[in-house]
Symmetry: C2
DNA sequence: AAAAGTTGGTGACTAAAGTTACAATTACAA
DNA sequence: TTGTAATTGTAACTTTAGTCACCAACTTTT
């Protein structure tokens, strides 16, 4: 049993031996370093990326304005790439690694085939769609009915959860883009959160959640 | 060939004869009159509604505040009911008929079964998820980066498209709820659009798009 | 037809967040 | 280390939209 098979089995315990074998055979493993763009709006998607290790940030871009849609973690795939991939459409999103990551790229033809052949594979994507859609409904409600301060707090807590650390090395500018607002607004609010003893800002541009 | 089979064949030309037969056999057709709630947040979903005729409005409700997620038209189904249905979860949405409508209710067990057995059935739901997700990304960008006036215009044009008429019988209060804003704001803006000769407001609460 | 409820119109006010403009600080490279 | 670029801080201002208060018009109920 190769290392890849072992890893795939760990990450996808609900996949059958056969499916794992096929994925290992046709998938292309790639190590990608932090802050690398793996997909941009408009790209043709011929291979579906699935995350083995690392974190990937998925953005929508609308008239030059970014907005964070979701993070991809280990064992997850990007539903927007999935749909672009199986329908031969162009990518509607931009994906950037947020840590050194390992992906496995699955050829779109095989993805379509596995979708028919393996129920567990099929189910995974329905599940991802569902999660992402519910998530989107929440995001939408937050944008509509909550003020930015709460959205910022939510963002900080969520980022801590995803990254697994309370010390977030992230620029104000980036936070602003992720939330679809202006840098000044974030600087102001972070100062306020500091005053309220919810965070501290260490030197080196690190936001520490208390 | 029964009337139902004929109708199903029209609405779902990509479904096989067998699938159509099964749907006709196990589906329950319901005629539902305008403004009827067919599903509320928290309901158990044991039957998946698929629209044969009519229009259905699907809402999310967040702390008493409604927000229009999408309209369902003929040949469409509600992905949120779908996911609730196949995973035995409770509904996260509220659905209300916007015209006298005909639905066919599919038992969740059969839905799960058809999903495996019929590729065309499986594909339909992936397609719906995809459409709805892309739609959501757009909505999100509009909320974040456009002012309410534009969002209102978009809403009016979209409603005209869905309803197939330029004379929309809709209350200001309802428009406000759909867009997640306040009634006064809508009244003010509709007056402005009237001044700008983009709409007129007829008596009886009808908004006519020019 | 009078009363009660619903809907729409509007001015005045408030709050929130986006913008401008620039200063201060920190990081980085020559 | 010194100059340059990137990042952060902040005050003042503007804009947008949400809120309040109230009235008028229209509808429905009694």
């Amino acid at each position: 049993m190769t290392e890849l098979v072992i890893k795939l089995t760990q990450k996808f315990p609900f996949f059958s031996k056969n499916l794992i074998q096929e994925i290992a055979k046709y998938g292309v493993v790639k190590n990608i370093e932090n802050k690398t763009t793996i997909l941009t709006t408009g790209d043709n998607v011929r291979m579906l990326p699935v995350v083995l290790d690392g974190i990937i940030k998925v953005y929508s871009i609308y008239e030059d304005k970014e907005f964070l849609l979701y993070y991809l973690k280990s064992s997850e795939s990007c539903i927007m790439s999935f749909s672009a991939c199986i329908e031969n459409k162009k990518s509607e999103i931009t994906a950037i690694t947020e840590s050194d990551s390992t992906l496995i790229l699955l050829p779109s033809e095989k993805v379509k085939f596995w979708l028919k052949k393996y129920e567990s594979f099929n189910k995974l994507f329905f599940k991802l769609y569902d999660q992402r859609y519910l998530d989107m409904i929440n995001t939408l409600n937050h944008i509509l009915f909550e003020n930015i301060e709460n959205r910022l707090l939510r963002y900080l807590y969520e980022t801590r959860r995803i990254k697994g650390t309370s010390e977030l090395a992230i620029k104000h500018r980036e936070v602003a883009e992720d939330l679809g607002t202006a840098r000044e607004v974030i600087s102001r609010l972070l100062k306020k959160l500091e005053k309220d003893k919810i965070i501290t800002q260490l030197k080196g541009g690190i936001i520490k959640i208390l």
